[in-house]
C-alpha cells in the first residue's frame, strides 16, 4: 500500500487541507470499526505512540496493531500565523505535529515574488527538511498532493516554490496539485499576475493539476441548499436530503456545528474530490485505479495536464421509497456543467480523455451501459474515441450508497486560461503594480514575459487540438506487409 503526503500552502491551501483531514478521519472512522491500524489508514496517517516526547512511529506490520494515536502525513506552510494557529487551537490539533508546521509572521502581501523568491530562499532548508522527515516515515511514498490558491502571495508563490523543490528532490514521486483559480470578480487586484506566474511553474513541474474555481463551488453549494433549505441551518432534515450525505457537509467529522466556518461547505467539496480520487488506491475493488494510472491515462502530452473534475451525486435522498433510478442520473449529471469544479462547459469542447472513478455498489455492466449511452453526446478526439478509464472501488463514501468522480482532460480549460491571460495582459500593458514585484531580490521583468509565453503556448496547444473537433487530421496509412 502506498502513502501520500499532503502539502498545504497559504490560507486557502490550509483551509481546504483542514477540511480534507476532517473528512478523511470521518471516512476512516466510519469504515474501520475494529480500530486496527491497517494499510488503508496508513496511506494518509501515521500511527504514533505519544508516550514519548518525540512520538515514535508505529509501522503497519501485519496490520493487526491497534490505533494508538494518528498523525496526519501533512506539511502545513503559511507565512502568517492566523490560519495555522486556529487549526492548532481547534479540535484537530492532535492530528498535526508541531514539527510539521512552517510559519512566519508577516505574510506575503498578495505578492508572488515575495512568496516565491524571498520566502522561498529563506525557508528552503526548513521546507526541504520537513518534507524529508515526512517522506522517510513512509514505507512506499507514491505521491505528493499540493494544495494552494493561485491568486494570493503565499499559496501561489511559496506553493509553486515547494512544487519546484519536490520536482528537484523527488523526481520519481508524482505531484498532484489542487489549485484554486481566482474567479472573474476576485478581490485581489494582482491575482492575475500571481496566477500567471504560478501557472508557469505548474506547467513545468506538476504531473497533474486539478483547477478549482470559487464561483463553481459557490454555485454547487447553492444548488445543494436549494434542495433542502434546512440543511444550511443543520436542523433535522425532514426535507428531501439525507442528513450528512451532501458533499458539502462536514457532518460526523470532528469539527462540530458551532465551529464551522463560512467557507467550509465549499472547501468540503474540494476535499471530497481528493478523497474520492485516492479511494481506489486505499480500498479494495474489482477494478483498482492507482494514482500513477491517472497520470498515465489522462495526460497524452506532457504539458496538457490540467484536468477538469466533477463530483456526483451532490447528496442522497432520504426517502427510501423512491426507487433507485439515481444511478443513471448520476452519470448524466456528472457531465453537466453545473457539477464541474471550474466554470467551464466540457460538453461543447473536445474530450482528450476521461476517467470515471466509481465508488460503492455499482457493477461493471452499469458503467458500460452508461458509457454507451453518453458516448454519443460527448465529443472525443479522433485518436481517442474510446478514451474512457474506469475505476471501481467497493467502498462507498460516507452517507451515500455510491458516488462518481469524473476526471477529464478537456479542451474547455483553455477558455478559463484565456480569461486569465486577458486579465493579466490588461494590467501588464500598463505595467501596473510591477514595481512591487521587481523590488524583490532575484525577480526579473523577464519572469513576467516568460510566464506569459508559457501560458500562451499551453492555451495554443489546447486550441489546436480543439480545432480538430469537426475535421480530424488525416491519419497516416498503416504499415503494409510486402
Amino acid at each position: 500500500m502506498t502513502q501520500s503526503i499532503v502539502v498545504q500552502v497559504g490560507q486557502c491551501g490550509n483551509q481546504i487541507g483542514f477540511r480534507f483531514w476532517d473528512l478523511a478521519l470521518r471516512e476512516h472512522s466510519s469504515l474501520n470499526k475494529t480500530g486496527l491500524y491497517d494499510d488503508a489508514v496508513s496511506s494518509f496517517f501515521r500511527n504514533v505512540d505519544t508516550r514519548y516526547s518525540d512520538p515514535a512511529d508505529i509501522p503497519v506490520g501485519h496490520g493487526l496493531g491497534k490505533i494508538k494515536d494518528l498523525k496526519a502525513r501533512a506539511v502545513l506552510i503559511d507565512m502568517e500565523e492566523g490560519v495555522v494557529n486556529e487549526i492548532m487551537k481547534g479540535p484537530l490539533r492532535g492530528v498535526f505535529d508541531y514539527k510539521q508546521l512552517i510559519t512566519d509572521v508577516s505574510g506575503a502581501g498578495n505578492n508572488w515574488a515575495i512568496g516565491h523568491k524571498m520566502y522561498g530562499a529563506k525557508y528552503k532548508e526548513e521546507i526541504s527538511e520537513t518534507i524529508r522527515r515526512a517522506a522517510e516515515l513512509c514505507d512506499c511514498l507514491q505521491c505528493f498532493f499540493v494544495i494552494h490558491s493561485m491568486g494570493g502571495g503565499t499559496g501561489s508563490g511559496l506553493g509553486s516554490f515547494v512544487l519546484n523543490l519536490l520536482h528537484e528532490e523527488y523526481p520519481d514521486i508524482y505531484r498532484f496539485v489542487m489549485a484554486v483559480y481566482p474567479s472573474h470578480e476576485d478581490d485581489v487586484i494582482t491575482s492575475p499576475y500571481n496566477s500567471v506566474l504560478a501557472m508557469r511553474q505548474l506547467t513545468d513541474n506538476a504531473d497533474c493539476v486539478l483547477p478549482v474555481e470559487n464561483q463553481a463551488l459557490v454555485d454547487i453549494v447553492n444548488k445543494i441548499n436549494q434542495a433542502n433549505p434546512k440543511l444550511a441551518e443543520r436542523k433535522s432534515s425532514r426535507g428531501h436530503v439525507k442528513a450528512g450525505s451532501a458533499i458539502s457537509t462536514g457532518d460526523g467529522g470532528i469539527v462540530k456545528g458551532k465551529d464551522e466556518k463560512p467557507f467550509d461547505s465549499m472547501n468540503n467539496i474540494a476535499a471530497n474530490v481528493l478523497l474520492n480520487m485516492t479511494s481506489s488506491a486505499r480500498f479494495e475493488g474489482s477494478l483498482n485505479v492507482d494514482l500513477n494510472e491517472i497520470t498515465m491515462n489522462l495526460v497524452p502530452f506532457p504539458k496538457m495536464h490540467y484536468l477538469v473534475t466533477s463530483q456526483t451525486p451532490l447528496y442522497s435522498v432520504s426517502d427510501v421509497h423512491i426507487p433507485p433510478r439515481r444511478l443513471d442520473q448520476m452519470f448524466s449529471d456528472a457531465f453537466s456543467k453545473d457539477h464541474q469544479l471550474i466554470k467551464a462547459d466540457p460538453k461543447h469542447s473536445l474530450y482528450l480523455a476521461c476517467a470515471l472513478m466509481v465508488r460503492g455498489k455499482v457493477e461493471v455492466s452499469d458503467i458500460r451501459r452508461n458509457i454507451e449511452r453518453l458516448q454519443s453526446s460527448l465529443k472525443f478526439i479522433h485518436w481517442n474515441r474510446d478514451g474512457w478509464k474506469t475505476g471501481l472501488c467497493n467502498v462507498a463514501p460516507v452517507g451515500q450508497p455510491y458516488s462518481l468522480l469524473t476526471i477529464a482532460n478537456n479542451t474547455c480549460v483553455h477558455h478559463t486560461f484565456s480569461g486569465l491571460r486577458d486579465r493579466f495582459v490588461k494590467l501588464y500593458k500598463r505595467k501596473a503594480h510591477i514595481h512591487h514585484y521587481t523590488h524583490v531580490d532575484n525577480m526579473e521583468i523577464e519572469d513576467f514575459s516568460e510566464s506569459l509565453e508559457s501560458l500562451t503556448s499551453v492555451i495554443k496547444e489546447y486550441e489546436t487540438l480543439e480545432k480538430q473537433i469537426n475535421n480530424p487530421a488525416p491519419s497516416l496509412p498503416r504499415l503494409q506487409v510486402i
Binding site: 477494478l287 483498482n288 495526460v299 506532457p302 457493477e363 474515441r385
Partner: protein
C-alpha cells in the same frame, strides 16, 4: 504431468482464482451419482487432477500457482476467497508483490519492474517447478490492457522461455472491452502480443465483451460483475484443461494439445468456444442431444459466433457467398453422457482448413465420460482460426491512429522504450494478420 500456473497482475489473479475454484468444484464437489462414471474411474480422475494442478503440502491441497502483482490488495483477496471455499488453498510463500503498481504503463511493467523483480519471481517459479514430478509446462494468465499483467507478464514469459527451453508455455490473455477500461490499452495490447509471439507457444485469447454477452444473454445475470465474467472464463478454461482422453487413449497433456493446435510457429492465436451455457435454474429443465450440440458448435466455428445464441446460419462452407471462418487446427473436448456415440465428422470437412493441410489431421478430439460442472453433456472447441482477426485489426487501427499523433508516447519513453520498439511491434502484428488472412 503437471502444469504450473502463473497469475500476473490484477486480472490474471482474479481469473486464476475463478479457474482453480472451478476445477476444485468440478473435481471435489460433485456427488458420485451425477458423475456418470464408476467410483474407481472417478478416483483416477481426481488423482489426475491433483497431479496436474495441485500439490499436497502441509496437509492441505495447494494450487500449483505463482501469484505476481505489483500491489498487494488483489492477491490478498484471491487467497482469502480460496480459503473460504474450503476446497483448496494458495501457498502463501508462492506470492510476490510490491507496493507500487505499474500505472497501466507497459514500459514500466516490462523494463522497470521486469529487471527489478525477475530474479525473485523466477526463484518462486523454479521452486514450484521442482515440486512437480514431471513438469509439462506453464500456463500464464494475464490481461492486455494494464501495466503489470501485460508488461511484466511479457517479460516473465521471456525469462521462463530462457530458463525452461523444453517446457510448453501457453498464455491466456484477456482482451479488454472495446470501449475503454484503460485508455492506453491498445498500446499495451500491441506491445504485449508482439513480445509474446516470440517467446510463448500459444496465445489463448479471451474477450471481455464476449464473456459479458454470455453472462447477460445466456446466464441471465442482471448486474454483471467481474467475478461473473471470470467465472465464465474459468469454466471455459477448465472445460479443456481437465483430463480427457483421445481415441487412442493418450491423455490431453498440455504438450499433446499444443503440438496439435499450433502446427506452424507463425500461427499461435487460439480461441475457445464452449456450449452449453445456462443459468442454474434452467439446467434441470433442458435436455441437450449431441447432434444438436455438434451442429451448433460447427456453425459457431464457421460463422465466428462466440455463443450459441445469435448465430448467423446464413454463413455456409462454400467459396461463393459470405466469407466463413477458416481454421488451422481444431481440438474438440466432449464431456458427459454417451460421448462415444458422437459424430464429429463435420469438423473434418476439408473446406474448413487451408488446402496445404491434410484435413483428417486437423481435428483432434478428446473425450471424458465424466460430466463437467453439472452439465450432462458439454462440448468445448479450441481452435486456431481467423476468429481473433477482427478484434486484432481493431486494436491495431486504434493504436496506430494514437501513435501517429504521438499521444501518450512520452509516458512510455520516460521508462526507456523507444519509438522503434513501437514500430517493430506494429510490424510484427501486421505480419500475423496477413498470415491469418491468407489462410
Amino acid at each position: 504431468m503437471s502444469v504450473v500456473t502463473l497469475q500476473m497482475g490484477q486480472c490474471g489473479n482474479q481469473v486464476g482464482g475463478q479457474f482453480f475454484n472451478m476445477i476444485a468444484r468440478d473435481t471435489f464437489d460433485q456427488s458420485l451419482a451425477k458423475c456418470n462414471v464408476p467410483r474407481q474411474t472417478n478416483q483416477q480422475f481426481i488423482d489426475d487432477v491433483c497431479e496436474r494442478f495441485f500439490s499436497q503440502e502441509e496437509g492441505s491441497l495447494k494450487a500449483r500457482a505463482v501469484m505476481v502483482d505489483m500491489e498487494p490488495k488483489v492477491i490478498a483477496m484471491t487467497t482469502t476467497e480460496a480459503k473460504r471455499s474450503g476446497l483448496f488453498q494458495y501457498n502463501n510463500k508462492q506470492q510476490f508483490c510490491q507496493k507500487c503498481g505499474s500505472g497501466n504503463n507497459w514500459a514500466h511493467g516490462f523494463l522497470v519492474h521486469g529487471s527489478k523483480c525477475s530474479q525473485q519471481v523466477m526463484d518462486l517459479i523454479q521452486k514450484e517447478a521442482e515440486k512437480c514430478d514431471r513438469l509439462e509446462g506453464f500456463f500464464t494468465l494475464m490481461s492486455l490492457a494494464g501495466g503489470t499483467g501485460s508488461g511484466l507478464g511479457a517479460y516473465i514469459t521471456q525469462c521462463v522461455r530462457d530458463e525452461f527451453p523444453h517446457s510448453f508455455i501457453m498464455n491466456q490473455v484477456t482482451w479488454p472491452f472495446y470501449t475503454g477500461e484503460v485508455i492506453v490499452q491498445n498500446y499495451n495490447a500491441v506491445l504485449t502480443l508482439s513480445h509474446l509471439y516470440q517467446s510463448s507457444d500459444a496465445i489463448l485469447i479471451v474477450e471481455n465483451d464476449q464473456e459479458q454477452k454470455i453472462c447477460s444473454q445466456l446466464l441471465n445475470i442482471k448486474k454483471i460483475s467481474f467475478s461473473d465474467i471470470n467465472e465464465v472464463i474459468g469454466h471455459k478454461l477448465a472445460s479443456f484443461l481437465q483430463p480427457a482422453k483421445s481415441n487412442n487413449l493418450t491423455s490431453n497433456h498440455l504438450g499433446e494439445m499444443l503440438e496439435h493446435l499450433v502446427p506452424h510457429p507463425e500461427y499461435k492465436l487460439l480461441t475457445m468456444k464452449t456450449i452449453p451455457f445456462m443459468s442454474e435454474n434452467n439446467i434441470q429443465y433442458s435436455a441437450y442431444q449431441w447432434p444438436g450440440l455438434v451442429k451448433h458448435l460447427t456453425q459457431m466455428l464457421i460463422a465466428n459466433a462466440s455463443m450459441e445464441e445469435g448465430i448467423d446460419w446464413g454463413v455456409k462452407l462454400s467459396s461463393t457467398g459470405l466469407a466463413y471462418n477458416k481454421s488451422m487446427a481444431n481440438s474438440l473436448f466432449l464431456r458427459g453422457l454417451d460421448v462415444n456415440t458422437v459424430d464429429v465428422s463435420s469438423f473434418k470437412d476439408g473446406r474448413l482448413y487451408p488446402s496445404w493441410l491434410p484435413s483428417e489431421a486437423c481435428l483432434a478430439s478428446w473425450t471424458n465420460q465424466r460430466t463437467f460442472n453439472k452439465y450432462e453433456k458439454s462440448a468445448s472447441l479450441v481452435s486456431n482460426s481467423q476468429t481473433p482477426l477482427i478484434s486484432l485489426n481493431h486494436v491495431i487501427d486504434k493504436a496506430w491512429s494514437m501513435f501517429t499523433s504521438r499521444a501518450y508516447v512520452h509516458q512510455y519513453i520516460k521508462h526507456g522504450l523507444a519509438e522503434e520498439d513501437f514500430l517493430d511491434s506494429f510490424a510484427c502484428l501486421e505480419q500475423v494478420i496477413k498470415n491469418y488472412k491468407d489462410l
